[in-house]
Symmetry: C2
Subunit: 460 residues, 2 copies
């Protein structure tokens, strides 16, 4: 399946010479993603419109070379890596926000639009696009679609899937399809839209999206609650929901996360605390005032040691800076990171916390947990030196146990990062053989020759 | 594909003699649905658990007889009709609410549970399941899943699809699958859950569901606004949303609908009005007070002639009684009803209203429109005598034009009723041949021999 010289020349003809390269210095720039793994593609192409994507794919389907769609390459599981060579299709030129339709609360956008830019554009119109992955300042909406990105606001607002009404996509055959509708309702035929969402670029390449918007909440308030036991923090999360309060985010950080963020930012985080909850509520001004007070009461009654309500936007922004600083700051502990993205039913977070603590003791590894406690989504990190085989083995052992326990608790081994290459070896823990077989057959329907993003999701 | 005597005896063995019949008097009871069409099945079976469904399907797959799943038979497009004979599988015995989990805001339920019963059960726990089709007092949750039911609250809360986290289903081969997760997040493999939702019983038979719940809103307030022009009412709907107010329902009735409801209920509806909006808001008590006042201001400024805010629950209930009385009361106009379920982007409702008015004038037919204006979903009814061939021809002409115009406005020809048999002849207006071909291939993956609910969705 190598890219022939003649196929490369045809690619250059389709997109123009300046938008197609196989120079090593260009290839290197599109060989990596957030997994820190690297695979050199055979070529990199920057198509400028749907027709070019279609022509490229129909060429690939004829000639038999692989095509791997790519947004910003910020994925955590290798979804945009050319693991078997092939042509990387960088969707950066699909960067137009085509329409923001206030009367119908929808937007038509292209997949190369960076999520944060889209947030600001709709907010300027008094509108709101809730999905907000931590990578929103560099990840693209197209990548968000491919992975079904989540983020902290899912506890109240759901995930990417809940905000996509319709798609334009190109199949492996080069055929262009239109799925879904422009309205909340629509039940004509099978739901191809949501079949494409989260399919990690293995079923088609998304070239346009119709997204659902909400009115921008009038006010947002943030607070932190400090706990001297991680379990107490975890129990507080459940209690908040049980009382019928749905904040827009309930993030948690364990002690290692707090130290990490503080060492980087020096903003006076409580480095002695075992756990910190960062809670954000939104709605009408009066409403948020009332809910923040209710939350203070709940947190106090559950045993919070210290509660701080952000008075200004700056204070709130600082709290978020701390939360977002954790992941990159983790490398102070060790050169390598194994990053997992498990989800358990919210009420099971205390059980999971106990299990992580026992694994930490048993293995002696550096483990850091933080994440979206409101929806049960825990980003669990093992910091290690992968060259140290003993450490690596222990880490693999810990992850195996952790995944089994996640599933035992009724959870899932990937909440928002996808399967890609890093979790494909584990997919059979969660998905039964009959279901996996259905998925493989669906893949075959969409991509009979297997040219689209090979080596992802399915175990080899 | 007729059911042989020996296959019937095997069926009786699987579910027990008392749960399987081919007596005509039994068959007649399961031959109809809300389309008022009737097809006698070869047998009717009442399986009691997933294993029985699985055994029945694997038998059907071997012997080659058709199986048609059925809830309460309240579908509007013929989804549960045995159009080519076969065995009707009545899911009524799957009637258990297995768990309502307050801490995780989920419920595990069986498909035979009547939607209204489920509403009351979760409301007793202070929880809320928003999807609320007009048929909720007799339709089952399983049927709601199969059709992706909507209802009036979709404008704020979305549709059935948005409240399903995971499913247990039986494939045509008899294999039992589990899809999805128990949490908001979960991205392991393709989204089989939403592929099954809205697939109208053609891909598998759902035997258990994990549903997402919300906290029950503290207060609900209802109001009506009367307009002397239908277009003004339609424009008011858009204006409400444009101002960032999202009521939980915005229903509209045209003059014929108002007269219909009044003739049945005699509750003093404004029979001279050209249009009536029934708006409902929910949230905290203070919040709903504020929003109701805002809504009054918007409606007045748009030209409403009369506004009435329900002071008591009884008053609000009466308004809903009126809304729900329309559909059955329509038969006072004529013996037959052609019922369509179009959706247009909310801002296009005035255009659609103008088109309907012009079609009414052109054809002289009795047309009645009402529905979920908040999400652009219009239930458009032509009342006629189908034996009158001239009327029938005119009606078919009107529907053809209406569907084309719906699609021209960016809408869909079925918002919440599915395709079934009554819309399958029109599906190619909305779904392109490439997309339809994908759907047919997906059907083949799930049901290689085509034994599950034949004759639905796809044009023959």
């Amino acid at each position: 399946m190598a890219l022939t010289d003649s196929a490369f020349r045809k690619l250059q003809k389709i997109v123009g010479k300046s938008s197609c390269s196989r120079k090593k210095e260009d290839l290197v720039c599109y060989a990596y993603d957030a997994t820190a793994q690297s695979y050199l593609p055979d070529a990199v192409c920057f198509p400028g419109n749907t027709k070019e994507v279609s022509t490229i794919l129909s060429l690939a389907n004829q000639e038999g070379f692989f095509v791997i769609p790519r947004g910003s390459g910020s994925g955590m599981t290798g979804g945009s890596l050319a693991v078997s060579g092939g042509v990387i299709l960088v969707m950066a030129r699909f960067s137009r926000i085509l329409e923001i339709d206030k009367g119908n609360l929808i937007a038509h956008v292209e997949p190369g639009v960076v999520t944060g830019r889209f947030h600001r554009a709709v907010e300027k119109e008094g509108l709101f696009y809730p999905p907000d992955p931590a990578s929103s300042e560099f990840a693209t909406l197209g990548g968000n679609m491919a992975e079904c990105a989540g983020g902290p606001r899912a506890v109240k607002y759901g995930v990417t899937r809940d905000y996509v009404l319709g798609l334009e996509a190109v199949l492996a055959t080069g055929e262009i399809i239109h799925t879904g509708v422009q309205t909340t309702k629509g039940v004509v035929g099978y739901d191809l839209t949501r079949l494409l969402i989260g399919s990690e670029g293995t079923l088609g390449i998304i070239t346009q999206m119709t997204l659902r918007l909400l009115p921008l909440p009038e006010a947002v308030r943030a607070m932190t609650a400090v706990f001297d036991k991680l379990e107490t923090a975890a129990e507080t999360v459940s209690e908040v929901i049980r009382r019928g309060i749905i904040p827009r985010t309930i993030e948690f950080m364990d002690n290692a996360s707090i130290r990490c963020a503080e060492s980087r930012l020096k903003i006076g985080l409580p480095v002695e605390a075992e756990a910190l909850l960062l809670i954000e509520v939104d709605g009408k001004v009066d409403e948020t005032d009332v809910i923040i007070k209710q939350l203070r009461t709940v947190c106090m009654s559950m045993g919070a040691k210290n509660i701080k309500i952000a008075d200004t936007k700056e204070e709130a922004d600082n709290l978020w800076k701390a939360r977002k600083a954790i992941s990159p700051a983790l490398y102070q502990f060790a050169p390598d990171k194994i990053n997992e993205d498990i989800v358990v039913p919210r009420s099971k977070i205390p059980d999971m916390v106990r299990k992580i603590n026992s694994l930490k003791e048993e293995t002696g590894l550096i483990m850091v947990s933080f994440g979206h406690a409101g929806d049960g989504n825990i980003h669990f990190n093992i910091m290690l030196d992968k060259k140290n085989k003993t450490e690596l083995k222990k880490a693999e052992y810990a992850i195996d146990i952790l995944f089994d326990y996640t599933l035992e608790l009724g959870g899932t081994i990937s909440g928002e990062h996808g399967v890609g290459i890093t979790k494909s070896a584990y997919i059979e823990k969660e998905i039964g053989s009959v279901e996996l077989n259905l998925m493989k057959k669906i893949k075959k329907v969409f991509d009979p020759k297997g040219i689209l993003n090979p080596g992802k999701i399915f175990p080899s």
